[in-house]
């Protein structure tokens, strides 16, 4: 809880919701007749509406990217490190829009929402959403806010994939594209991790084929396991060693299966607090969106061809210890852009924090990010 708001914070924020009544045709062939998107904005939109930045979120985050809801909040939004006055995404200059994606569980229409056809929650009947569907829905939010061209679309991890998709699908509607700790598609290993996470949820007896809302329960153990597994892959071996080592909670081993090592305690805490804020059906959907993302697949698996028509200038950032989306995956995007002689810069940040590094206040990362953002013209 901040006693006073830090001077580089966007301060107290309030989310807004917009209801879209125009049906949205989805990649899976189904159509959402209507839907709501919840979003937050920071900073002020200028007269020409030319200083807007769209933030795309990763697997488990949401629209609350920066600032606090109240003075009682323990933590600010998930990317407060990078969004605020004088931060890389400088809210003194930019108007920042951050939304909860379709299929989410923090206020935008998703599996928890009531299906107007049945009067019950969608649950497992909520259509599978793709990255391209998200981008389409985000473009509609831009229309509502009067933004015909974003100064930049920015995202980390799954958010970076959305930024990349933006540059492909709406080339004229963004001037800069910042893709952080992302990949042009998942590897078999990535998909394997997602599958284990899904199986943990699907095999939980409390899952009830996705209709757990009606049974007044949640697949707690499954979602917790999924999150614990995820966390292992978001950290690096060195990062874990530095953070926990083999430290014991009680200073001695107890020859039992209760929590003994600090790393166990950390994973259990992360898993269990995640269950309190996240929906299992949404988790399943998000992992599928990740698995399906592959813009090159429509161009004979040629990423250069997929990126041939992009117009945005790119900044690609990766982190040395990120093994979930390693630097070599970012380089594939860079190489495809170079092949097309597009404007691109690439930085590989030395960091031991693994995939999570993109959320961390790593000085060199923030300096690179800020150096690029400062050159973006807001006119």
């Amino acid at each position: 809880m901040p006693d006073i708001l830090p001077p580089d914070s966007v301060g107290l924020v309030t989310p807004q919701t917009h209801k879209f009544s125009t049906p949205l045709a989805l990649d899976c062939g189904r159509t959402l007749p209507s839907y709501e998107l919840i979003y937050e904005t920071y900073g002020t939109l200028n007269k020409n509406h030319s200083n807007a930045i769209l933030i795309c979120h990763a697997l488990s985050s949401d629209h609350h990217a920066a600032g606090y809801y109240s003075m009682q909040d323990k933590k600010p939004g998930w990317w407060d490190t990078c969004i605020g006055p004088s931060k890389p995404i400088d809210t003194n200059r930019f108007f920042v829009v951050s939304l909860n994606n379709l299929g989410g569980c923090q206020g935008s229409t998703g599996p928890k929402s009531i299906n107007p056809d049945t009067g019950k929650p969608y649950g497992p009947d909520f259509p599978i959403i793709t990255v391209r569907d998200w981008v389409k829905s985000q473009a509609r939010l831009g229309d509502v806010l009067g933004i015909s061209q974003w100064a930049a679309v920015i995202g980390g991890s799954l958010g970076g994939m959305q930024a990349l998709q933006w540059a492909i699908d709406y080339p004229k509607h963004l001037r800069h594209c910042v893709v952080i700790a992302a990949a042009p598609k998942l590897t078999a290993q990535n998909i394997a991790f997602n599958e284990v996470a899904r199986q943990a949820i699907l095999s939980d007896p409390e899952f009830h084929a996705g209709h757990y809302y009606q049974h007044d329960t949640v697949p707690r153990r499954g979602l917790m396991l999924a999150r614990m597994l995820g966390h292992i892959t978001y950290l690096s071996e060195l990062g874990m060693r530095k953070k926990f080592g083999r430290e014991l909670r009680e200073g001695k081993i107890n020859f039992g299966f209760d929590v003994e090592f600090q790393v166990e305690s950390y994973l259990r805490y992360q898993g269990s607090s995640f269950v309190d804020r996240f929906d299992a059906n949404t988790y399943l959907l998000m992992t599928k969106a990740l698995d399906y993302f592959d813009p090159a697949s429509e161009h004979n698996n040629n990423l250069s061809a997929a990126l041939a028509k992009v117009l945005a200038q790119f900044l690609i950032i990766s982190f040395t210890s990120d093994w979930r989306f390693s630097p070599s995956r970012s380089r594939q995007i860079v190489k495809a852009l170079l092949y097309n002689t597009k404007n691109v810069s690439y930085a590989e940040i030395k960091a031991h924090e693994g995939h999570d590094a993109f959320l961390m206040p790593i000085p060199h990362y923030l300096r690179i990010f800020k150096s690029y953002m400062q050159q973006i013209e807001d006119e």
Partner: protein, 209 residues
Amino acid sequence: MMDLRTDLALISEWIAEGSHVLDLGCGDGTLLAHLRDTRSVTGYGLEIDDDNIALCLQARVNVIHTDLNQGLSDFADDSFDYVVMTQAIQTIHHPDKLLMEMLRVGRQGIVTFPNVGHWHARVSLFFGGVMPTSRALPSEWYDTENIHLCTLRDFEKLCEELDIEVLQRAVVDKRHHSSWFMRLMPNLFGEIALYRLRSKPVKRIYPKK
């Protein structure tokens, strides 16, 4: 750019208006920014130093984090008009391979390096019996990044072996000035050497060595 290094100013004159340029070890992006502003040049800088990458971004120069010792495999054949490398070849593990790579991705190459054939270096080795240091080569032998130092004659011998044609050569002193005696005896009086290169018209498939 008021204080453009003389070797960079000389290189700028060698590069045609509107060219596409790859700068290996581009530093803070000075050369590419200068070429963009004065000659409408486009291109990319390759750099490994974190601080320099930030400076390139501040100068709006496209910069790609790259270890030059890994080669230029991200770039297609003949994708640049010029591939430039200033004061970096002496730090590369395999200068011969990188030279070939430069002339694979670029139609011409421009290379500058400190000349160890300079009289001062010869004197300090001959009379002092120690590895030469100078303003162009300030480090001691044990902590230097300059692992592949050469003289003008060494470099030209390598070009000959690699079927590389020297299109243009210049030498300057440590203040990056040139003079008549440097032009007369470049290997003795030139402290920094500048070369413009291209592959000889008939390309060999394998290097001779």
